[in-house]
Symmetry: C2
Subunit: 189 residues, 2 copies
DNA sequence: TTCTCTTGACTAACGGTACTAGTTTGAAGA
DNA sequence: TCTTCAAACTAGTACCGTTAGTCAAGAGAA
């Protein structure tokens, strides 16, 4: 009965590692316990439930994504900012598929704390739109379009939804160009 | 031990009903058996596994979506066709959230038969693009953009991802307008 | 009508999941 | 050194999908 010296952070870190390498779906209490060298019930001295671990994982993933995106967007505007946002998200999803998958779960299952972090992300999208001169109601609608397009593309790419051999990078550039031209149109009207 | 008169079709039909009313995630052998008035193991006289039921459900969902979309797109071109495609998908997802969720699962988990049906869907998107004068490689890239945008929007809407009170219908129209203007741009170049 | 054979139900069980209760022990602080 | 709390443990609950083996319903043949 040697003590493993665990705490919630270590457990969540292990969960992130498992989710990113084997997929969020195969994250389980049993696997977590095995990785940490402990029997499954012992984990409950540090965590409330597997769902809570996933919530923590999601929130940490969002915070990391926010940092990365903010850095990428620093000092650029409009189209450059949109591209920075898009590439930052796509790269994040490829580097951390488990964290990305966590952030794509239905909002209803998140804790208040995690929902709060999610709202900060919207702020970043709205910042991009200010660069296009789009504010207020129109910004909300355009923000939804940007979020939806990026999320849909990344989910499809990660899920193996692009079967044809054409270069997916070119497709992503097409997506960003489309969004840019749509937003510039919107500004003119 | 009265015989229930089951067959695979009846089981899949019940699965669709459960998935659409309670969500794909809560579709289980136990629930399926309860609904059909039979003990769980009895189902295995008619099905191979729960995964195979989900695959059938997905394929049937896709076929239904294809029918609905084809009908909506009949006799219209370019922007009208794009709008028909978009609204048909969004309405389908709202009417059949379980079938929609099935069709969004990672491609790797599908049978060959189901993947084949999925490919037919791409044909519909390419038909829309022909109306814009976009063919070949460019069409593949634009088709990915359309699929990604629609999928992302619908997934976000169904998952409760749009927190602000602004009218989601307006946002969807914005998405379609964006796509349309992007595609018309692309045609000119 | 009776017999046979197939089909579709059943019960019991296996290994997996998350989780809880109760027990023991390591290790830190008094 | 003793006490106390935290963190591990074992054992067990209640689910999940799935398999093996059993038995009877019901259809077709004699």
């Amino acid at each position: 009965m040697v003590r493993a010296g665990l705490d919630k952070e270590i457990v969540v870190r292990a969960a992130i590692s498992i989710a990113d390498s084997e997929g969020l779906a195969s994250l389980s209490i049993a696997k977590l316990a095995a990785v940490l060298g402990v029997k499954a019930p012992s984990l409950y001295n540090h965590i409330l439930s597997l769902d809570m671990v996933k919530d923590d994982l999601t929130r940490q993933g969002m915070l990391l994504l926010l940092d990365i995106t903010r850095d990428a967007m620093a000092g650029v505007e409009a189209r450059k900012a949109l591209e920075a946002l898009g590439h930052a998200q796509r790269n994040f999803a490829r580097d951390h598929p488990g964290l990305w998958a966590g952030a794509q779960m239905p909002v209803a299952g998140w804790s208040k704390a995690t929902q709060k972090v999610a709202n900060v992300y919207i702020g970043l999208v709205l910042a991009v739109l200010r660069g296009y001169g789009i504010t207020d109601d129109a910004a909300i609608h355009s923000a939804r379009v940007i979020r939806a397009s990026l999320k849909g593309f990344i989910d499809l790419e990660l899920g193996g939804g692009f079967g044809y051999p054409e270069d997916v990078d070119v497709s992503f550039d097409t997506l960003l160009k489309n969004l840019d031209s749509g937003l510039r149109m919107r500004k003119k009207i």
